[in-house]
């Protein structure tokens, strides 16, 4: 009997092997969020980060000249803006004290370089050369001088992986800076983001700046996300179709900052309890 089974296995070894591999893959898919998988991934991530670090100079070399020009222009604009913002900040402090509003908590930043990127279908992530040793934790927002880039989803000791805005699973509570209209930023492919769940009657126009809102349990409020590029009223739909061009140039993502702020666990737990 055993001999017969063995003969059958040998005869159909390709199919048996295929079945074994598929079974393992399906089992892995089923147990995706286990701690064991996280630990293995952490080790692999650190090893891969070292290799990616070696190749990290390539985009710098080619983009340096153009980057210099952009930075000089930006420097000029920002100097002017800083002066105006200083005045606004002082005024803001005075007004907040006047009405007794709580100050927004300040948080530090960890600077990091993008040493690699993963482009897989609708999942875009970047590997950065800062990890738990630098105080980077899962859930921390990743920003650049231009605005929101994403959030940390995985950490090794010296490297971390950031889920970018160009990722199908990332949703960001956002608002229009001018009219304070709230919505959800999401990405479903292409170079533009979508500002979803905005009723047709609300005031959103091209050129409006989109920022993170206080409703977000993942990101601090007020971080720039992008600019509205088009609004459309689709017949038969309750909501507007709004596209947003992200502020961050993901093709030239080199230097990022990880904001040392993690989602407020008590708030997340409370919201989850209420939703359940």
């Amino acid at each position: 009997m055993l001999k017969r089974v063995y003969d059958i296995i040998v005869l159909f070894k390709e199919y048996v092997l295929l079945a074994v591999y598929l079974l393992i893959s399906i089992l892995l898919l089923a147990v995706n969020t286990t701690d064991q998988a996280r630990v293995i991934r952490g080790h692999v991530l650190t090893a891969a980060g070292v290799v990616q670090d070696v190749f990290g100079f390539i985009p710098n070399y080619f983009a340096l000249r153009q980057q210099n020009r952009i930075l000089r222009e930006q420097n000029l604009t920002l100097s002017d803006e800083v002066n105006r913002l200083r005045e606004a900040a002082l005024e803001n402090i005075r007004l907040r004290r006047l009405v007794g509003l709580r100050e927004q908590p300040a948080f530090g930043y960890v600077s990091a370089q993008v040493v690699g990127s993963q482009v897989q279908a609708l999942r875009n992530t970047a590997t950065i050369n800062a990890g738990t040793e630098d105080g980077v934790l899962v859930g921390m927002p990743v920003v650049t001088d231009q605005g929101l880039a994403g959030r940390i989803v995985s950490t090794g000791s010296r490297y971390a992986i950031a889920q970018l805005l160009y990722h199908k699973d990332l949703r960001v509570s956002a608002r229009i800076q001018r009219s304070r209209v709230n919505g959800i930023i999401r990405w479903t492919g292409g170079s533009e983001l979508q500002f979803a769940h905005v009723p047709k009657t609300l005031d959103v126009v091209e050129g409006d700046v989109v920022i993170t809102s206080e409703f977000s349990s993942l990101f601090p409020s007020g971080i720039r996300i992008g600019i509205v590029t088009s609004t459309r009223q689709l017949p038969g739909e309750l909501f507007q179709a709004i596209t947003v061009h992200p502020s961050v140039d993901f093709d030239r993502l080199e230097e990022v900052f990880v904001a040392k702020v993690v989602p407020d666990s008590s708030r997340v737990a409370l919201e989850r309890r209420t939703n359940d």
Binding site: E14, L18, R41, A48, I58, Q118, L122, R123, I161
Partner: protein, 163 residues
Amino acid sequence: MTRWFIIALISLAVLLLQTTLIPFVAVGTIVPDLILIWVVVLGIARGQITASTVGFVLGLGLDLLAGDDGMLGLSSLTKTVAGFMAGYTFNENKTMQNLSSAQFPLTVAVVSLVHNLLYFVIFLQGTDISWNDAVLRHGIPATAYTVLVSLIPMFIMARRNRS
């Protein structure tokens, strides 16, 4: 034994290339799939067992490198199926001929298309992204880019074959 060692070494190099250098040649968010090309080469040259084994291991490596963000088991599953499919074209006496002719990119095209379709069937479960949209925007362009890149090893093989 030596042959398996060489395959393992090349496979490791391909995995490193795919995760480190290939993102630099991305057109938007579309990248060529070097691992898939290598798995098809193995399918044509060594058959289903080698191709599906290497596909499984490299797919697993790719899933692990995606960090917590990835779906562990997804690439290993799709790459295993790709290797198994490519193995159907195995013919010991015509290996070089198959690798250096138009049959090679054609096999890459068919395998890549099935691979991408299967990938999105699993990957888009529970999301509000349309499957058609994902296939049109990512699946087909990625297949085209992969086929384009597969012409390089085909021409190299054709040149070697002639000399």
